[in-house]
Symmetry: C2
Subunit: 206 residues, 2 copies
Amino acid sequence: MPSALILMADGTEEMEFTIPYDTFVRAGISCTSAFVPAPDTDGSEPHAVSPPFCKGSRGINIQPDTYLEKHKCGPEHFDLLVIPGGAKGAETLSQSPVVQELVRDYLDHDKFVGMICAGSLAALTSKLPKQQLTSHPSVRAQLENDFEYSEDSVVVSGKLVTRSLHSSRGPGTAFPFAFTLVELLCGTDKRQEVRSPMVFPLSTPF
Amino acid sequence: MPSALILMADGTEEMEFTIPYDTFVRAGISCTSAFVPAPDTDGSEPHAVSPPFCKGSRGINIQPDTYLEKHKCGPEHFDLLVIPGGAKGAETLSQSPVVQELVRDYLDHDKFVGMICAGSLAALTSKLPKQQLTSHPSVRAQLENDFEYSEDSVVVSGKLVTRSLHSSRGPGTAFPFAFTLVELLCGTDKRQEVRSPMVFPLSTPF
């Protein structure tokens, strides 16, 4: 069974977390959510306290499955690492040295990394080599000097997936983003098997 | 500020809960989630215990904002009542006598009631008069004798909204379902204002 680690922090966009998680479970992918606490204001490492919830960008409180711990969350444990957006959540995730190291480790070990919306900032802070990617328009200016910023068609740059079909730039494209990752991990048939019972409106382009 | 009460139970479909909640908050609608415990196996009333989480159909744990309490959740407090799907969650919600009474009260007081996917079962258990509605195909057989079952175009039957644009029949249509309710509560301009920054793929039909 393929497996995915989906990161979350206070301020993560709830739909960009929930849609991939839910869609992956429907595809038979084992999902684990890992919480990344915001750093202390003095800049030291986050405390390993145990908040019961992660507060999403629109106020929905979600309980993480676990804390992000490097030795439990590396590419030897999961096939896919997902970094959702939401301005404040993406900032916490992309600024975390552990997240940055994991992003590089997953790609170095030929595992998939998916970034959606402002989550693409982690490509910058992880100092990934220049390659194609996309993001929510709100963080485009921070990314376009260091990457080949793209606006159309899916961008699967090696194992880095920041875009699917027309765009993975906002929560509106969380579904095609999730479907693309299902296809990459489980094949085309599984993508269709998962998508069909969701009963999308006719002519939906993904 | 318009206000919405979104119900949840163990087994509620996470996307059908999260997408309307998040979209409504973006539209400036004040949202409250209310948890409905499953009834005891002996058939007596649910205990008012305090579970910290609602476990969604795909294993995501979400903290409800409050418990469903009739005197705090009636149509004098909210403009819209939403019943999401997910087979087990929809069963708990639709079988709850308090939910059934609230559905009738909201409609009697000319407030909106939105049902998505298997949530439409609550129209049946609340003994609403025969009218147009739709649902996830999995519960169609339970509904088509007592309602004018419809498959195309939005169904806004008085204040009962079970369908939007092409369909609100599954999680794939949770977005158009949410947008239709935003439009009904806040107007067409607000619908567009909320939808635009979500950056849907080109040619998405909602």
